[in-house]
Symmetry: C2
Subunit: 202 residues, 2 copies
DNA sequence: GAATATTGCAAACATTTGTTCTATGTTTTT
DNA sequence: AAAAACATAGAACAAATGTTTGCAATATTC
């Protein structure tokens, strides 16, 4: 069917127009650029695309067609994490980053800048930005961001999580460091699970 | 000045509205959501932001305000790189990813999936996606993607680049591997410099 | 404190743009 | 080949939305 192709051409046009201009096209834009002779025709195309669920459209609003999924999610960078300073309780927002959602799936994600070498053997280096999924629990072997308060040592760290004989072990991936087994186990609080990271070389 | 704050609030609102809805707000949207009492006021705000260069606006068009830079660039994933297979000359495009431009600056970027452990001590692991800036030259110590043809060994690899006594050395960051000093030095071709990476834990 | 500039408001106006209607050509079905 | 279904066009209409104008409130300057 020729119609199919035309429809896809329109869909593609809307996507490109949006990318280039920052806002969606009008039916008249479509007519001009795709050599469609009537606004009614373009209007029709848009409605067919909507029926097929290929785009969203708000009725009666101007330039309100949306082709969903440009492929990125916005996540906040909440601070620095290492073996020392805790993340501030009132998480300061250091800005938003758009990360590819195909790569980093999940609800309630945030970023933290890593400080320190404690996870170097897991390929997590000083300065990396880790992508964390907020959750209170963790499975054995997962890398987590956790807080605990143990008198001398306290704060937020990123470590590999293990539970053995009912005791939580926070294991640094650095052979020159020892496991952390907080005395005050009940103070341990999982902030989230590390699902990915980004690094930029300077 | 109170005015300043209000302006920034509007700018932020436009950005958020766009993120959430996929298209920009109208002056009346601003009035409703920011408790502005007159469309003329909102209109005024928008024009001031335009004067300051903080947004773009097409005259007389509906919903045509744009806060440039939603913060991401679209880059293609071109294939796999390791010590073996070359990237296909006709680079196959495996899709686009939106990556934060604040983090990964530069023109002409692309992604490659890394295969192998040859850069493990530089924190580049098997399965990582590296962000490469296309360029033909490199400085001493930079991590590059390079191709060479040396009879037995050939293809594209990611290695640290050194030039010593006129000879190019491709240094793996893995103490169990040896430096590569291609016999046929003239066959060495730098495809780009690695400026960052992304990883997602499965 | 008067003069002046800035800011905000309400209402009217102008333009853009979505939507509907009817007609005509084109393909598919019977 | 007639009938039916579909696709497109052109024009008119209606709603959404940008823009202008004049006035009041508030802040700033002298």
């Amino acid at each position: 069917m020729i119609r199919q192709e035309k429809l896809m051409e329109v869909l593609d046009y809307i996507r490109r127009f949006n990318d280039e201009n920052g806002f969606p096209p009008t039916v008249r834009d479509m007519c001009r650029d795709l050599k469609i002779k009537s606004t009614a025709t373009a209007y029709d195309y848009v409605n067919r695309l909507k029926e097929k669920g290929l785009l969203e459209k708000a009725e009666n609003k101007k330039r309100a067609v949306v082709v969903r999924g440009n492929g990125s999610v916005r996540v906040p960078l909440l601070g620095v994490v290492n073996a020392g300073q805790p993340i501030l309780a009132v998480e300061q927002n250091e800005g938003y980053y758009s990360i590819p959602e195909a790569e980093f799936k999940g609800e309630d994600l945030f970023l933290l800048r890593v400080h320190g070498e404690s996870m170097i053997e897991a390929g997590i280096c000083d300065g990396d930005k880790i992508i964390v999924k907020r959750q209170q629990t963790a499975e054995n072997g997962e890398i987590v961001v956790a807080m605990f308060d143990d008198g001398t040592e306290n704060g937020a760290t990123v470590k590999r999580f293990f539970k053995k004989d009912g005791k939580i072990i926070l294991h640094p991936e650095n052979s020159s460091m020892d496991d952390i087994i907080p005395e005050n186990q009940s103070s341990i609080q999982i902030l989230g699970k590390v699902i990915g990271l980004m690094r930029s070389f300077r």
